[in-house]
Structure formats: structure tokens, C-alpha cells
Amino acid sequence: MRFFTATVLGLLAPSLAAATNATTPFRVALPSDFKPAQVFQNTNVVRNTNLEKSYARETVNLVVENIDKKPQSDYYVPFPADVFERVGGFEVRDKKAPQQGRFEVTVTEPVASSETQYFIVHFPEPLAPKSQLTLGISYSLLSSLSPLPATINQNEKQYLSYRFSAYVPSAYQTLTQKTKLKLPTTDVPEYTTTQGLKSGADPERKGATYTYGPYDTAKVAPGTELPVFVRYEYTHPVITVNLLERDLEVSHWGGNLATEERYWLRNNASQLTNQFSRVEWTFASYQKAPTCAVRELTYPLLPGSVDAYFIDDIGNVSTSRYRPGTAKTGANLEFKPRYPIFGGWNYSFKLGWNNNLSSFLRKTANADSYVLKVPFIQGPKMAEGVQYEHVVLRVVLPEGAHNVRYEILEGTTSNGLPGQNQINATFSSLKTYMDTLGRTTLTLEVDSVTDEARDSQLIVTYDHTLMDALRKPLTIFGGLLAVFFGIWSVGNLDVSIKKR
């Protein structure tokens, strides 16, 4: 029946316009002995490293000067190949005019000789010789903090360690530089001190802030490392989402935007030396003692979110609380995993809710064209932050939607996502709920994102005509007609063996 109607209606349907701006991230291949040409010089570099969350967040402000004779527009930012894949939300702006938006950035393959990978920053206008530009680079380093000791007892404090080079890695000569390290506590049992690099103590301590530098590095070759090690107390979980699948389903008939998220979560905190003890855990939770186990996650939802659910592979998790909130404040979903998630433990689950479509979808002046504005990722909001290793966002548009385009909204500050050319976009078709042609589906995949990206917005525009909307009722009508006709004609057959 389905094929019958599919063929009939397929003739009526307009040919689906093919995907419009699907992208796959590409990487520039470099020769094996590649070294960026020394056409720039960093006059001053200030790096702020923030370790208050469970991943490192760095912003680097640098004054770049063109020391070549020709105008230059490509600035190389190096990372070791093993760190490179864990760099999340890499973004570069003109520090003096951040409202002009992010610079275009391309990515390279690793260079065989030096095991280095580069982000190539393309200036919108080439930088004239002798002139300067102030760049603001921001990114986060996922899984960069490792617990030390790696195993602790259930009620012990957890210490994280962070290793970096006090000389900011750069492909170019740097004149002066310093690094400000912001730690979550003042309980810092170990940190590297340097001698003779600058006057006074290095690092300078001020509360939980440690400043390495300023160093005069005019004579230090680019790429030189000055390893620094810090170890600090951090008795909080290190929440890592190995994979987040997020589905947004738009239904014009139902006026509904359904969201479902599937998480594969892992706590990368210190593991337990011994096994889990329920007695200790009962007493510790009674005293509300700090712990590196995930006890509960809070998930703020947008205003008007209803029908929230929290399930996992074996059914409903009864320990969740849903606070609907008012129209303005938005709802809150507080959910407890079935068991406390200690270091090294996994937990996978599903969340979902519904929203009224009218607050996300607008019709444009052009009658059959729609604009959908939805959050790119939402995710739980935790003081210790959440890092996502891989995110797959699927926007399921109504059946017959065509001429689909998407765009990620850029503001004056970082939205936590990498540039659009680093997001893998594909279009496909999904058949569900008696579809004949299937629903147009936009799939966006991105690696290494943190909860900084919670506020990012995705805009999808598409065309959807009245004929597209009527296809399904007509299909079902046709199908039922065929069934009734079939039954009627079978009922009229005479198969008896009696003589007439």
C-alpha cells in the first residue's frame, strides 16, 4: 500500500531540491618539513589559562607585527598533534574590534617532521609591512587535566595536574610574554618555580592566580618549551560526554518541536582505590561532603518546555525531578543518575522534552519559506563544566522540506563552537510515522566542544509548501481506500467448491 501511494504521490511531488550547503571539514596537507615563514613577530603575548572548570580554557591576546616586506594574511598557530584533536571551539578575533566577527580559520594535517598541527588564521585584509594587529585567540583544551594520584579513596580530596609550557607555543619570534593561571583553589601542593628568568619570584602568586612571566624572550627561538607543572585540589567530577546525539524534530501539523538527547557520559576523575562502599557514600551524602562523583546533574530548559523525560537503556530513571518553572524563568530538570558516577565509571541515558514550535519557527515574507532558530547544544549546566568529545546534532524537518540552508549565529563574543568549516554537515532523509518521501534531515557533527557552547544558536531556513503538508493525509487516505477496496474485492470472490 505504501509503495502504491508513494509512486502516485511521488509523481505529484516537486523534485526535492538537493542539499544546499553541506560541508565536510577538510584539512590542508603540508609538506613533511614544513615550517611557517618567519614573516610575523609577536610583540607581546598575554595568555590567560583558566582551570576553574574541569577542562582548561585559554585566551591568548597577542600583538602581531608584519616584519616581512610584503603584506601578509596567513598567521599560523601551532599545537602538538596529540593536543590538537582536543582543542575545542578555536576562535580568533580582532581584539580591538571583536564585533567584526571571527576570522576564517583553516586546519592542517600534522607535519611529519615536527608532529605539529596548525590552525591557519586568515586575516580579512592582509597586514601591511610594519603594521600591527591585536589578535584575541580563545579555545579550550579538553581532557587536559589529569588526576594525580590517579586513584584515591572514596572520601579523599582529588588533585588535578596540568602541564604546559610557560613559553606560549608560537611559530614566530615573541618579544615578551606572560601566562596567568587561574586555579579554583588555593590548595596547591605542587607547582613549578623558575629561576633567573625574571626579577622577583616566578610565578607571582595572588590568591588563586599564578602569573608566570613576563619573560623577555626576544632571544629564545620559537618553539622552545619551558615545562611547567601544577597540581591543585579539585574535588569535583570531571564530566566528559564521549558522545552526544541530539535530535530536534519539527512538526508543522503538531506545532511541536521535540528534542531528544542521548548521552554517553563518563567521569574522568580519580578512580577508586578500593571498591565502592555504600556505607561511606551514605554518610558522605548525609554530610553533603564534596566528592568527585557525579551526584546529580541540573539541566535548565527553555521556557515552555513540557513532557520532560529521563530514561536509560532499561527504562525510566525514577530519581529525576522536573520543575516546570514559569513562562519566563524556564524549566529545570534535576536528574540523578541511578548510581553515583565515580571516576572511571560510565553512564548513558536519554533526555527529551517538547516545546511549542511557534517560539522557534517563523514564516518569512516569502509565503512558503520558514526560519527555524534553535539552540545548537543545551546540555546540563554544572559549575565544574561539561566537555563533549563528539556531538551529533540532527534537525529533522517536515516531510518535503527543501532548499534547506543553515547558519550558526555569531555574536560579538565567542559562541564556543569552531568555525563553520570545521562542522560536518550532511543532508539525508528519514522515514518515520508513515512518510512516503521521508523527512529532510540536517545532520551537523562537531568534535571537542565544551559547555561554553550552551548559548550558541542554529538557524535553519527551508521551503515547505501546502502540497508538502497535505501529502501525508492524502497518503493515508489513499492507503485506507486501497485496503477497503482490497477487502471488498476479496470478499466478492467465490471460492466455494459447490456446484452452482
Partner: protein
């Protein structure tokens, strides 16, 4: 008479017939909807979840079928159960249930309706109970000319607790579809006997084959239909109708049943099936005799008949004995013996006796499960005696057999329920038909009749005062209405309170009245699923095997299939022995984790310590020298867990695991076990070879990890006392009087 009533126009004549037909369809659909709706308590109250124990296996098998297709399901060797033996699952299960839900799933998927296989499984039983109500209508309509009997029977079947107990949403067990198939097969059989039609006989065989693929209880049909035929023959009611329908059914049905690998050649080798074969032979002889009778004079025929009967009986009996002795025909199974002797299992097969649903039924259970149907039942059977057509003989036989079986085993209440519904509906419909119709006998005709014998009692001379009076009609119909209303409220109450708990999830109330869910089972199972290696072997008592396989997705040693008593006894021995004995058993079976259920903190009485004696008994059955039930009782014969517990008890692995570290939850010396209501010894038992790996929030599930061999080659008790900083125990130094060393 209200001849001019507008209702009569639609209720009488040819348009009336179709109106009544439409009404009947609407009523039946409403009954089916009510049957489905009354089974949804647990879904509404909890969630769409598979219940109990066995359904978890069926659910897992269905998932396997849906994912891997029919042929690999057929050949499924499951190496994740009964470690290290594995189980030839495809050949040792009744696939009807899984295949049914697989087919439904694939149809829905074909229509691109994105339904989860779990929801298909959860809602299968309610859906089929709607069909059962319809089948019941058809069956009862064959028994009675009254149109109301069928509808009443359908309504009874829809909501009778005896059937609901096995078919609430989530109770995804073989019975879910088997009862529908049972009733429908009987309907087809009655139809076949009545019409003597090959078509109906073949349909009976078809649904019998489906029934065989769905439930081991098919043996009931296998024996009931031959018995029906046998009784008919004995009553001298041989007819070609019976011959045609029985031979058609037997030949096709037996072939059909042999297609199921688990059944295979049982229909010709197992004693349970011999009556069908015997009756098949008998009916051929009877038919032959009938045939011959037409050609021979009476006297010769008598002689021939006697000779033939003696010969065949002698041959048949001799053959049966010979085949039984030589082992070609399998002897009766243990469960079969326990049907005749309720004490049999307790003595010989503790594993059968340990299952609560194999216990004899308590009398109140009949009223609890059937309410007022149980006292209408004899009346209905009596009315069958009054008519005593072929189909009524069937009802009587069914009623007698099912009543006996339901008295022997609790779970067989299920097979009794359909016939109770039929009989009760027959009785009630005849009451209603007599008292609800407004018609009175024609006074003139009565007067004529009265004139003929005017010497009768004075009370009958005015017949309109008797049962035709408005008062008596009102009384009877009002009381019947009250009974029916009570029945509905009883059924609702029983369903809601007794049969709608998933038992995986426990519900309790918080002080503010809101529902609090105790979800320890799933907490622990999900922990296992997420945080242990994929092939970690879990040892637990067999009750939890299916749940661990389904929810934790880990290999288990024993499960609810209980096909290997020795393996179960091995687990029982490991649980009931000292650590020194248990540890080698655990190592030999590659056990990584041991799971126990402990209800002491919450007062959850279905825990392992309460089942412990069964473990001991089953282990004792295999190793009577090593495990002795007597050692677990104190000298006064008490089963205690406190300070007075016997040393064997306190040293058993089960006891140690249950109470390990439990004392530290309480102030010193105050630890209380709320299930057994006794104070627990102040000192926590010491575990040397196991370590606590996980305990659920309310301590219901405790999981212990089996320690690896010690790195320094010490035995575990030495290693533990070393870690605690204790001095190493010297090897049993006897404190005798000091003696001078001579050597």
C-alpha cells in the same frame, strides 16, 4: 404491550437484525477495550516496563529475534547463560510468543511507525486479552442459543482476575497469547464437531499448532480433545462428524506440533501425548466396526467385536508397556507427577517445589480470582447436563479436569478461568433471559391450560403473580446487577492491588503522600551493565538470572530456565558453604561478581536469606555429605541469623555477603534486620575471598567482586589479616604443658 415503541422499529425485523448485529459488535469492542484498559494499571502507575522474571528472558529473546532475524534465532546458541555450559536457546523454547511480537513489530515498522520493541512486548498481553474476550464470545455462542450468554462470557473473561494475573501490561509471558489460542482452538474444535467439517478441523489443527509453538500448556488441549472424543464414543455418540473432525485435527495438528524443535518427536514418544494417539486408533476401530456392522448379522458382529476389542486392547497395552520399559516412550515428567501427588515434588524435586506458583491452591484464591463466577460455575455445569449435546459434554469434561488441576497448582487457575466464564455466563444468561424479558404468557392460553387441570395448587392458578410479576423480576435483576457491579469493582481492586506490580520496581509512599519508587534492582543491574567488562560472569541465585541477562546484559551461571539441576545445586553449594569451599567453586566457574539480594534494611521479605533454605536443600540433594539442612537450624530447630545462629550459618557465604559491613550503618550493637526482625551480631562478618563492589541505595542488591589469587601466593585469609595489620596466626599451637625439647 408497547407495540408502538420507536425502539421496536430498529430492534425487530430485518433492520432490527442488523441493528442488533451492530450493537453486538459495539458491545464486543467495548468489552475488548475494557479488557485492554484494565490491564494498564502498571503502565500508568509506573512505566512501560517488563515485569517479573521470565518475561525478561522472553523480551531478550524477542530482541534477539528482531535484531538477527528468524533463522539465527532458530539456531541461537546462547553462551551468555548457564556459563560455562551455554544453552541451545533456539531449540529449547516455545517461539510463538517472540515470533508473534516480532511479526507485529515488523508490520509496524513496514508502516514506518517508529515503535520500540519493548512497547510491543509490554502491550502484547493486554492486546491479546482483548482477542481472548472475542474468542470467548464465539465459544460461548456455540454452547447456548441465548445471545446474551456470549456477551456475558466475553465480559467475564475480559476482566476476570484469574486471567488478568497473567496478562497485565508488561507480563510478557507465554500465557499472554496462549490463553487466547486455547480458547480459540476450543471454539474451532466445537465448531468442527458440530459441523463435521474438514475445514474447521484443519483450522483447529492450525491454531493447535500455534498453541504448541507458544506454551507448554498445549498438553492440556492434547489430552482434553481426545478425552472429549473418548467420552462421546463411550456415550455411544459416534458419528462421522466426530470421526472427520478428530482425525483431521489429530493428523494435521500432530504434524504441526512436531515442527517446533522443542517438541520434536514428543507427540509420538512422550506419555503425555499417548492418549491422543490411543483415541486416534480407537476411533479408527469404531469407524471400522460401524462400517462392518452394516454388512454382518448381529450375532457374528458381536463375536467379532469382542474378539477385536480384546485383541487391540492386549496389543496396545502390551506395546505401550514394552515401549515404556525399553525407553522409547519417555516416562512421565516430574511436574506431571506432582499434578497427581501434591507432596511428590517436595520430597523428590525441591527445585519444582521452591517455585511459589507450583504450590497447591489455597481455597480463598478461587474466590479472589473468580469472585461470584465460582458459585455460578456449578450451576452452569448443571445446565450443560440438562442439554447434554456434544459441545456440552466438552464443557463438563473441561470443567471437571480444570477444577482438579487448579486445585493442585496455583498457576493452573489460568486454565480454569475460561471454562468458569463459559459456565457462569450460561447460568447467568438463563437467569437474565427468564427474568428480564417483559413478556407474560397469554392469559387466555393460561386459562385454557388452567381449565385442563384445575386441581393444581392455588398459587399456580394465578401465574402472573409468580415469576412473571414485576416484583420478582425487579428483585432478581436488581440482585444480579448488584452482583455484577460487585464483580467489576472486585476485579478492578484485585488487578490494581495484587497483579499490577512490576516487582522490578517497588513503590512506597512518602510522608506527604507522593509516590516514591524504590529502584534498587535497576540501579544495580545498570551499574553492572555500564561499569563491568562485557563478559564478566555474574553468579546469583537462579531467580535473578533472566533479569541479569535482560537488564545487566552479563553472562550468568544459572537462570530461571532451571534445566540443569546440578548446576543450580553448584551455585547453592557455593552460597551455603564456607569461603574455603566456595572460593574454588567460584574460580572454577570463572565467576567475577556475586550478586545477592538483601532486604534487611528495608524490610523487603523476598530476599535471598529467606530463600536460603531452598538453596541448601537443592545443594543437599546433590551433595548430601557436604551440605546439610540440619546444620542451618539451631539445636531448638530455629532458623536464626542473630548471635545464636549456628556456626554453619554464620560461615556460609550467603550470610557473610548479606551482613557484610551492614553493622556500620547503625550505632554499635544496634544493627537490626527488619525482615527477620532480629538483631544482627555486632561484628561484621569478615570476607576474605570477596570484596564489596557495589551496594544499591537501599541495600537490596549487593554485588561482590571475587578476588583474584593473591600476588604473593598467600591464601586470602592471611592476606586480609596482613592488610589489617594483624599478626599471622601460628598454625594451631596446642597449649599443653611445657615439655623439654629433646631433639
Amino acid at each position: 404491550m408497547a407495540q408502538s415503541s420507536p425502539l421496536d422499529i430498529v430492534l425487530k425485523g430485518s433492520s432490527g437484525q442488523s441493528t442488533r448485529g451492530l450493537l453486538r459488535i459495539i458491545i464486543l469492542l467495548t468489552i475488548a477495550a475494557a479488557a485492554v484498559a484494565s490491564r494498564l494499571f502498571s503502565v500508568i502507575r509506573f512505566e512501560s516496563i517488563i515485569h517479573e522474571f521470565d518475561p525478561w528472558f522472553n523480551f531478550r529473546a524477542t530482541k534477539y529475534l528482531v535484531q538477527n532475524g528468524f533463522y539465527s534465532f532458530w539456531d541461537w546458541f546462547d553462551d551468555r547463560t548457564w556459563h560455562p555450559l551455554g544453552r541451545v536457546t533456539g531449540g529449547t523454547l516455545y517461539p510463538g510468543l517472540m515470533v508473534t511480537s516480532g511479526v507485529i513489530y515488523h508490520i509496524l515498522r513496514f508502516l514506518t511507525i517508529p515503535v520500540d520493541i519493548r512497547n510491543v512486548c509490554v502491550l502484547l498481553a493486554p492486546g491479546f486479552s482483548g482477542l481472548t474476550a472475542l474468542a470467548m464470545y464465539l465459544l460461548t455462542c456455540e454452547m447456548s442459543t441465548s445471545p446474551s450468554a456470549g456477551l456475558l462470557a466475553a465480559a467475564f473473561m475480559g476482566i476476570a482476575p484469574g486471567y488478568i494475573s497473567r496478562s497485565v501490561a508488561g507480563s510478557y509471558d507465554n500465557e499472554a497469547i496462549a490463553i487466547f489460542l486455547l480458547v480459540f482452538t476450543f471454539f474451532l474444535w466445537i465448531k468442527a464437531v458440530k459441523n463435521g467439517s474438514i475445514m474447521w478441523g484443519a483450522l483447529t489443527a492450525l491454531f493447535y499448532g500455534y498453541m504448541v509453538s507458544a506454551w507448554g500448556g498445549y498438553v492440556f488441549i492434547t489430552n482434553l480433545i481426545p478425552l472429549h472424543v473418548f467420552v462421546l464414543l463411550c456415550m455411544g455418540r459416534y458419528s462421522s462428524r466426530v470421526y472427520i473432525s478428530y482425525t483431521t485435527w489429530y493428523a494435521l495438528g500432530t504434524l504441526g506440533s512436531m515442527q517446533i524443535p522443542f517438541v520434536g518427536f514428543l507427540p509420538i514418544r512422550n506419555s503425555d501425548h499417548m492418549s491422543a494417539l490411543g483415541v486416534f486408533g480407537l476411533i479408527q476401530l469404531v469407524a471400522f466396526a460401524e462400517f462392518v456392522r452394516g454388512f454382518l448379522p448381529g450375532k457374528q458382529f458381536q463375536k467379532l467385536l469382542t474378539a477385536m476389542v480384546l485383541l487391540t486392547f492386549g496389543l496396545g497395552f502390551g506395546g505401550l508397556v514394552l515401549l515404556s520399559v525399553s525407553g522409547i516412550i519417555a516416562p512421565w515428567s516430574g511436574r506431571f507427577y506432582s499434578l497427581w501427588d501434591t507432596g511428590y515434588a517436595k520430597i523428590h524435586i525441591p527445585i519444582i517445589a521452591s517455585v511459589s506458583e507450583h504450590q497447591p491452591t489455597a481455597w480463598p484464591a478461587f474466590f479472589f480470582d473468580l469472585n461470584f463466577l465460582i458459585w455460578l460455575f456449578p450451576a452452569g455445569v448443571f445446565m450443560c447436563f440438562q442439554k447434554l449435546k456434544d459441545e456440552h459434554v466438552f464443557v463438563i469434561i473441561y470443567a471437571v479436569l480444570a477444577s482438579y488441576f487448579a486445585g493442585v497448582m496455583v498457576r493452573l487457575m489460568l486454565t480454569l478461568t475460561p471454562i468458569v466464564c463459559v459456565a457462569a455466563a450460561l447460568a447467568l444468561s438463563s437467569i437474565l433471559d427468564s427474568f428480564l424479558t417483559m413478556g407474560r404468557p397469554d392469559p387466555e392460553a393460561l386459562a385454557n391450560a388452567g381449565a385442563e387441570d384445575s386441581k393444581t395448587l392455588r398459587s399456580t392458578s394465578k401465574p402472573v403473580v409468580g415469576i412473571y410479576s414485576f416484583f420478582s423480576k425487579l428483585t432478581v435483576s436488581a440482585s444480579v446487577t448488584v452482583y455484577l457491579l460487585l464483580f467489576v469493582s472486585h476485579c478492578t481492586w484485585v488487578t490494581s492491588n495484587a497483579y499490577s506490580s512490576p516487582s522490578v520496581v517497588l513503590a512506597s509512599r512518602l510522608p506527604d503522600g507522593s509516590q516514591h519508587i524504590i529502584d534498587d534492582y535497576r540501579e544495580a543491574y545498570y551499574w553492572l551493565r555500564q561499569n563491568t567488562p562485557d563478559n564478566a560472569k555474574i553468579m546469583s541465585w537462579w531467580d535473578y538470572g533472566y533479569q541479569i541477562g535482560g537488564m545487566a546484559d552479563r553472562p550468568t551461571l544459572v537462570d530461571n530456565n532451571t534445566w540443569n539441576n546440578t548446576h543450580i545445586a553448584t551455585v547453592g553449594k557455593a552460597m551455603s558453604s564456607r569461603e574455603e569451599v566456595s572460593y574454588p567453586i567460584l574460580r572454577q566457574h570463572d565467576v567475577d561478581y556475586v550478586l545477592v539480594v538483601f532486604g534487611g534494611l528495608l524490610g523487603y521479605s523476598g530476599d535471598d536469606l529467606n530463600k536460603f533454605l531452598w538453596m541448601v536443600r537443592i545443594a543437599e540433594g546433590i551433595w548430601p555429605d557436604e551440605v546439610k539442612e540440619r546444620d542451618f537450624f539451631t539445636s531448638r530447630g530455629e532458623y536464626r541469623v542473630d548471635d545464636e545462629a549456628t556456626p554453619t550459618m554464620r560461615n556460609s557465604l550467603m550470610y557473610k555477603m548479606s551482613y557484610y559491613n551492614y553493622q556500620s550503618l547503625f550505632p554499635a550493637g544496634q544493627a537490626v534486620d527488619r525482615v527477620r526482625g532480629s538483631r544482627v551480631p555486632a561484628e561484621s562478618p569478615q570476607l576474605n575471598t570477596l570484596e564489596e563492589a557495589f551496594t544499591s541505595e537501599n541495600w537490596i542488591i549487593r554485588i561482590f567482586k571475587v578476588k583474584d589469587l593473591d600476588n604473593f601466593g598467600r591464601d586470602h585469609s592471611n592476606a586480609v589479616s596482613f592488610d589489617k595489620g594483624l599478626k599471622r596466626k601460628r598454625a594451631a599451637k596446642k597449649k599443653g604443658p611445657r615439655v623439654l625439647r629433646t631433639e
